[in-house]
Subunit: 306 residues, 2 copies
C-alpha cells in the first residue's frame, strides 16, 4: 500500500439517522452517529477514514457531506436494509437526555472491515461500538501510534470482560463521569480514574458535558473546561466531535506528549462547541480553520491565569 | 484612627453554630457561618476584621479559633440570647443540600456596627446578609477600593429592589448558578451575567460548586475549575471560603487588575478545597501558606495549556 491510501486517522463507529427533540425544536431524520461526528471533526486537522455501515436508504446528501470534508469512505459498508435509527429527547437544561427508540437495523450485524490501507493508520479512534468489535479492529491495525477508545453503559453491563481487554490495549480511554463511576464502583473520579489507569491505558479522559473534561494520567491531572456558549441547539454527538477533533489535532501535531494532548483537547473542546450550536452536523459543516483557531484563542484566554 | 486599627479586609456576615449531616457522618454544634469561613480564609493573606453577632452561648473555643488566625474581633457583637443555629443534610453526591432547620436567634436583630477603624478598610466582603444591611454597611465605609457582595435566593424573593441597589454599588457580585438564573430569569449564564453586569458591577462571579466558577466582565470570561479532591467531608461554607481567600489575596496583591483577580481566584479555589476536606473550619485551622502555595502550583499545573 502507498501512504496515499492510509489516512492519518481511522474512526470506527456508528452512522445513524436521528430524530432529536429539544425543548424548542424537533428535527427528524438528521445525520448522526459517532463516526459521522468524529470523522467530520477530525477532517479539519488531518486525513481521516471512516469504518462503519449504512443501509441502502442512506441519503446521498449525507454521503456528500462526508465527501465535502474529504472523509475517506473506503471503509464505509453499504448493506441491504435500513440505516441505524435513534431518537431521543433532551430536557430543558440539556444535561439529561432520554432515548425514545433505537433501531439497530444494519448496524446489528456490523462487522468492521478495514480496507488494507487503513491497517497502517497511526491514529485510531474506536468510537462506541461493542468491545468485541473494538478488539477485532485492534487485531487488524499493524502499528498504531495512538489509540483512543470510547464506550457506554450498555457494554459495561453486558460485555465488561471484553471492555476491560479493550481498555488494556489502548492509549486513552474516554467515558463520561457516570460511566466511569459505573465501571469502577467508585464515586470519586480520582479513584475511578486510578482504577482505570491500572488496567493499562496511559490516559483516562472523563467527559463532563458542559462542565468540560478531565484528563488523568499516572502523574498528572488536566482540567479542560468546555467553551461557554450563549445558546446551543443540540448536544448530540458532542463527545464524538470532541474525540474526533482531538485525535485529528493530535495526528496533525505528530506529537503525543502530554502537552500536545492538552493542546489537542483545547481543539476538541472548541470544535465540540461549534457542533452543539446547531442540530446534527450543521455546526461543523460550514466551519473553517479560521473559525476554529479564533475560538481556540478565545478559550485559551478564558483559562489563562499567569 | 491609625492604620493599625484598620484591617485590610472587612467581612460582614453570619456566624452560626451548625449541625451537618452527610452520607457518612453527622457533626453537631460545629462552627459555621459565612463570616467565620470568609475571615479565616482571608487571614492567610491579609489582616481581616469580622463584623457579625453571636449570642452569649458562643463557645470560647470558637472565639479562640478566630484569634489564632488573628481575625480582628472588634466588630463582633455579643448579644443576649443564643447564637444563630443552622442544620442541614447533604445527599450522597454532596451537590444538593437540604436545610433541616434555621434558628436566627440573635442574628434576627443583627445590625452591623462598623468600628471606626473598619470604615477606612480598602477591601470589603458583604457576605450573605439582607440587602438592606449590606446597603447600610456600604454607607458606612469611606473609600473602599474593592467591594464584593454575595447573596441568596431568599433576598432575590423578598428584597430584590434593595438587592439590585447593592449590586449597583459593588465591584463584584458573587452568586451561584441557580441564583443567577433565578435573579435574571435567563437560563444561559452568559445572558444572566450580561444582565447583572448591566446593573453596575465590574465583575460577576458565578459559582458552580465542584465545577468551579466563572468570572464575567464586560469584555472577558475567565473559567476557574475547582481543585479536584479525592475525598471531601463537608461542602458547607465553600463559597464563603473561596470569597474570603479571594478578597484576602486581592488585598495582599494591592492590585485589582483582571489578572490579579484571576490569581486571587486561584487562591480562593485552593483554600476552598482545603476547607471542604474537613467539617466546619477544621480544614482551614491547621493550614499553612506553604500548603496553600503548593496546591496553588498544582492547580495551576492542572489548567495550564501552552
Amino acid at each position: 500500500m502507498t501512504s496515499n491510501d492510509t489516512p492519518a486517522v481511522v474512526v470506527v463507529g456508528s452512522i445513524g439517522i436521528d430524530t432529536v427533540e429539544t425543548s424548542r425544536e424537533k428535527r427528524e431524520e438528521i445525520l448522526g452517529g459517532s463516526a459521522s461526528f468524529a470523522c467530520v471533526a477530525s477532517s479539519f486537522f488531518s486525513t481521516v477514514g471512516m469504518v462503519g455501515v449504512v443501509g441502502t436508504d442512506f441519503p446521498e446528501e449525507y454521503r456528500n457531506l462526508y465527501l465535502r470534508h474529504e472523509v475517506d469512505l473506503e471503509g464505509l459498508q453499504t448493506e441491504a436494509g435500513k440505516t441505524f435509527r435513534w431518537s431521543g429527547v433532551y430536557e430543558e437544561n440539556m444535561d439529561n437526555r432520554r432515548t425514545l427508540s433505537t433501531d439497530l437495523n444494519v448496524f446489528e450485524q456490523f462487522s468492521p472491515r478495514l480496507p488494507e490501507g487503513y491497517k497502517a493508520c497511526r491514529y485510531l479512534f474506536l468510537a462506541n461500538i461493542s468491545p468485541s468489535l473494538q478488539l477485532h479492529v485492534l487485531d487488524e491495525v499493524s502499528d498504531p501510534k495512538f489509540v483512543l477508545a470510547d464506550t457506554m453503559d450498555l457494554w459495561i453491563d453486558i460485555a465488561q470482560d471484553d471492555l476491560r481487554k479493550v481498555i488494556a490495549r489502548v492509549d486513552m480511554l474516554t467515558l463520561n463521569e457516570s460511566e466511569a463511576r459505573h465501571l469502577t464502583g467508585k464515586y470519586s473520579l480520582i479513584k475511578a480514574a486510578r482504577e482505570l489507569l491500572a488496567l493499562g491505558p496511559k490516559y483516562v479522559l472523563i467527559k463532563k458535558g458542559e462542565h468540560g473534561s478531565m484528563l488523568f494520567s499516572e502523574e498528572k491531572l488536566f482540567l479542560m473546561p468546555a467553551y461557554v456558549l450563549e445558546e446551543f441547539e443540540d448536544p448530540t454527538g458532542a463527545g464524538d466531535t470532541f474525540a474526533g477533533a482531538f485525535i485529528g489535532a493530535l495526528a496533525a501535531a505528530e506529537d503525543t506528549s502530554e502537552s500536545a494532548i492538552r493542546r489537542a483537547m483545547l481543539r476538541g473542546s472548541v470544535v465540540a462547541s461549534f457542533g452543539v450550536e446547531r442540530f446534527s452536523l450543521d455546526g461543523l459543516d460550514k466551519l473553517s480553520m479560521t473559525d476554529i483557531e479564533r475560538r481556540v484563542e478565545k478559550l485559551h484566554a478564558m483559562i489563562r491565569c499567569d
